[in-house]
Structures are given as C-alpha cells and as structure tokens.
Symmetry: C2
Subunit: 342 residues, 2 copies
C-alpha cells in the first residue's frame, strides 16, 4: 500500500506560563497504513482526541514526574478513541474500536497496544470514551467512591464542576443522596450545573469577592466532601469551611498549572482542628475497576439518570485552540477534538 | 477546714504573635480544701503540669475552635497529674492519683471529673503521665499506628523530633523496623535523637540553607511517612521528597502558631503526583485506645526498650517561662512544670 498523508499536531518547544496556540504547529508527515511484518504494533485511525488539564504538565520539561514530557518536534499524545486499521498483535484485529493513549495525528502506530482498552459497547456516542466512559469518567468514579468515602446526606462541594470529571462527580453524589454544590467560571456553566446536571446549587467563582463567604452561603453547616480540581485560593477557602472528619479528594489543581510558582495554601492547620483527610490520587492506579465502573455507568446513561455534556471541536487543526481553551475556561463540558467520525 | 492560699498562673489578656512571660502573671487566691456538701466535684492537689504546643492556640480569642480559649483573668488550664484531696464523686476517693485537664494552680476543683484518667501504675515516675503515659504518648501512638499505616522497612521522617511526641514516634518506628530520621533545632537535641533515642539520623534544621537538599541527603529514596509537627517550610520541602503512596500524619504545626498569617504551602500538587494521603488528627477522638496503649508502652518502658526525656522546671512560678520556652525551642525533651512532688 502506498503511503498517505498524516496530519499531526507538534509541540514546538517546552512551555512556561500560560500555553499559547503558537506553542504547537500543524504539519503533515506521511505514513504507511500497514504495520511492519513481524511487529506487535497496531495501526490506528484516530477518531476523537481528548483535551485534559493534566496535559499542561506534559508541556513542561519534566524529570521524575508521574507523566512524561511531550517531545518537542513530535506529535502531542493523549487519550483518544480510534479504529484499528491494521494489527500485528494477537489481541487486536482490523476495525476493532479502542480507547487509550494515542497521537494527535490522523494515524498512529502504537507499539505497546496492551495499554489500550477495547470498546465493546457502541450504542453510545464513541466520543464518550474520551470522557464519561474513559479516563475522566474513571477519575470521577475512583475519586468519589474510593477516595471520598461518601455517605448519603453528606454535603459535597466540587470545583471546576462543569468539566469532564466534575459534572460526573456531582451526578454520582446526587444519585447517592448528597447535597451538591459546584463552582464554575461563567454564567452559562453555572446554569448547566443547576439546570442540566441537577446540582442543588452552583456559583460563578469569578463573581465572588470572598470565596469563604460564598462557601458559607451555600454550606452554612460546612462541607463533608470536597472534590478538588483547582487548588490555590479555592482550596484555602474550602479548608475554612470543612466539617469535622471531612475528606478532600485531590484530583487536580488547574488554577496552578500555568504559574511559575504555585500559590501558597495557608489554612492547612484546619486539617488538624477538623481531622480532615486530604488524599491525592491518579486514575492510572485504579484501572482494574474499569469493568465494574462500566457496569454501573452504562445503565445510568441509557436510562437518562446521568447526562453528559461535550464540547466538540471539529478537525485536528482545531486541537491547539481547544487544548489551550481549557486553561481559559472556554470549554463548556468535556473538551473533545473530532478528527474523523468513523 | 480553714481556707489555704492557692498560687495560680493567670492569663492577663489574649495574645497575638509570640507569647511572652508577661502575658501571664502569678497571683495568690484562697481555697477551701473541701468540696461542697452534695457536690459531684473533686478537689485536686496538682503535682505536675504539662506544657504543650497546642496551648498557644488557647491564648488566642477563639470561636468555634476545637479547643476553648483560656479565660483572661482566670488560671490557665492544661494537662496535669494530681492527687485527690477530697471527692464528692463516687468514682474518686482521697489519695487517688489522676491525670487530665486541671488548672495551673496549687489546688483545683474539678466539677466534671469523669474526663480524668485514674493512675493505676505508680512504678514509673508520676510526671510521665503528663507525657509518655498521657496525652502526648497517646498522640504519638494514635498518630503513628492509626494514621500513618506504617510497615516494616519504611522511611520515616519526624519534625520537632525531640519533643514529647516526636521522641516516641521515632522509637515506635524503630521498634517496627523503620528507617527513622528526625529534625530538631539545636545540636544538643540532634545528639539526643541519635544517641539516646536511637534515630538512624538527625539534623538541625536551623543549620540547613536548603531543607529540600537536607531531606534528599537523608532520604535519597524518599520518605514514606512524615510525622508533621511543624508545618510551613518544612512541610513544603517534605512534599517534594515523599514517595509514591506516602502518608503524612498532621499532628501539629508549631512553626505557624505565633504568626498572624500562616505561611503558604506551595507544593501540594505533590499530593496528586505521588498519591499522598495527608491526614489531621486529634488525640481526643482516640482515648478509647488508652488501655491498649498502656499495655504496649508500660512493658517497653520497664524493659528499657523505650527511653524518655523530660525537661522539668521547678515550681508553679516557673510555668510561664517554661510554656513560652516551647515556642523558642528551649526545652530539651518533654517540658513539665513540677508544682509539688506528692
């Protein structure tokens, strides 16, 4: 088979401060749509690519981190949904659908395909496997059920609540019978939280002069569970409003990722006075729970008990803007890049 | 019976910043050495009083805190060891020895004596019930065994390690087979850690320009367990040196208690990357474990497997200086005030 063109999104250089679209560039390489004879690799046609906050860290020059840096001059990598075009691996065959780590390009060769998940349920939008049925969905599931030790009736606060993870955590908490409040950065997102995702309350943190006062308004009796996605000032205000024996699942700190020096958090003494457990987690440690997670969440989606909002940007070329948009809060719901539909 | 004089240490006013001896004053009241007819109260002769870092918070004007403010114009209260002189309570009789919350005075009337612990083992120094056999001992026990989930061979770091709690945590960790390093603020204390308490290593944090570098020197493979007594810059440096799935028991933050605004902690993102559990606790929640604790620690003391260092200051009048000294690191070992010997 002849080689074909392969559009790619390349990281030009390591980034400091807020990333810009121009830190990435679209280019075109060529690729042979067959895996080499005798190889274990598989060849993917990428359909949907996922924009996730943790990708900001990979634009830094990292050493000894839990993730690897992107390689300047090479395509960005991240989670995505793809179709197998050719396979040298016994577990995969042509036309299998998979999700997992792939390249920001039209076609990718995956040399260690064991890390990919096969998609068996196709009666939901395939793009969902970048979100509610993929890494962010598992993150919400693990963070809420495994880390927060939630109980019916508890008071739950979620920051960045309209994002891929936050919207699910809130709905899980509502299904369990918790009181749920979320924060987000626009009126549109706040409306979404209250009217679409069924949060009890939501507020725009950008319109609050005093986050402590805002939290006291929504949680006069305090917060049992905080699902932390933002860090910094919000965390400081939350610490003042936690209840005794509260739990903080530390999932992300997106407000800090573009700062040269992270903001200081001043109210950690509250951990003692209120006997708070604060625990960081990474979804990668918990993927053995994925089948259990699917068994729970697929029926919820089909019965309409959980809704899910995506912000789909069209075409690989739109990828840099979509990814950068995360850090300006431009996305409404889970940010996805559609490279191809089938 | 006639009234007798009762020397007392009074808090003059609420304190901000570093406390001074002159924030307290010695005075003399009178007291009748009988409890009123029909009362449930007991009358104590105070023997040993405990100086504990958490007492600094009680000098503040507090609202809704886990402890109550001292009352300006009234005697300070705190943990102590005392002998019962008279009792209107069925559980206590004359000459019983007790430990628990009492007043900084020669004689105290305790109106709710149910909170006191009776002392049954008197073949150890009575002053030990202000420390290794009292609240600080239980703090070390609960914090290490219940909060840190320690395992043999793990790497343990303890700050303020020569204090009442730290010296015990380190010895518990050594008995379990951990590698143990402590920090303290003088050469004398560092020597004590290494030569008396059997820590593997110890260092003087005041002599380290770069706490991160110091920790990397003692923990080239990182820290599994951090027993946090100080907060601030040390916590920030520790976060950079924690291992995957590390645990931080947050027991105290003495470096922050005299600051108007606590220092900011910048490296909390490490909680995520390293999946760290950070948990605050208060010993009060765990007193049901006290008999189990005594069963463990009394034989260790009698067999010499655990040693214990006290810094005993003589006379009630020496109390203010002893208490203030905690915040300047003047005490070597557990700070006690001896009011009377029997």
């Amino acid at each position: 088979m002849a080689e074909v063109n392969n559009k790619q999104i390349i990281l030009k250089h390591y980034v400091s401060g807020f990333p810009k679209e121009s830190d990435m560039i679209a280019t075109t390489a060529t690729i042979n749509l067959k895996v080499p004879e005798g190889s274990n690799a598989i060849l993917l046609k990428n359909l949907y690519l996922s924009c996730d906050p943790y990708m900001r860290n990979r634009m830094n020059k990292l050493e000894g981190s839990y993730v690897q840096s992107f390689k300047p001059g090479s395509p960005i990598t991240g989670h995505g949904v793809a179709r197998v075009l050719d396979s040298g691996h016994p577990n995969f065959k042509k036309d299998d659908l998979v999700w997992g780590i792939t390249g920001w390009e039209e076609y990718s060769v995956i040399t260690a395909p064991e890390t990919l998940f096969k998609i068996h349920h196709t009666d939901v939008p395939l793009s969902y496997y970048t979100g509610i049925l993929g890494m962010p969905g598992m993150t919400a599931y693990v963070g809420f059920y495994e880390i927060c030790s939630p109980k019916k009736g508890e008071f739950v606060f979620i920051s960045a609540a309209s994002g891929a993870v936050g919207q699910l955590v809130g709905q899980f908490a509502k299904l369990l019978g918790c009181y749920v409040v979320g924060s987000a950065g626009t009126k549109e997102k706040v409306d979404l939280l209250k009217n679409k995702f069924g949060f009890d309350e939501a507020f725009n943190y950008k319109e609050e002069q005093d986050l402590d006062a805002a939290l006291k308004r929504y949680f006069p009796d305090g917060i049992d569970i905080y699902f932390e996605n933002v860090g910094g000032k919000m965390l400081d205000a939350v610490l003042l409003n936690m209840r005794l024996h509260g739990r903080i699942a530390v999932c992300g700190m997106i407000s800090q990722y573009n700062l040269d020096q992270p903001e200081g958090v001043h109210n950690l003494f509250c951990l003692i006075a209120k006997r708070i457990r604060m625990e960081g987690f990474l979804v990668f440690d918990h993927y053995h729970l994925y089948p259990k997670f699917l068994d729970m969440v697929l029926p919820y989606i089909k019965e309409g008990k959980i809704v899910y909002v995506e912000d789909i940007s069209e075409g690989l070329e739109s990828g840099p803007a979509a990814l950068i948009g995360l850090f300006y809060g431009r996305n409404v719901g889970k940010q996805v890049v559609a490279v191809a539909r089938e």
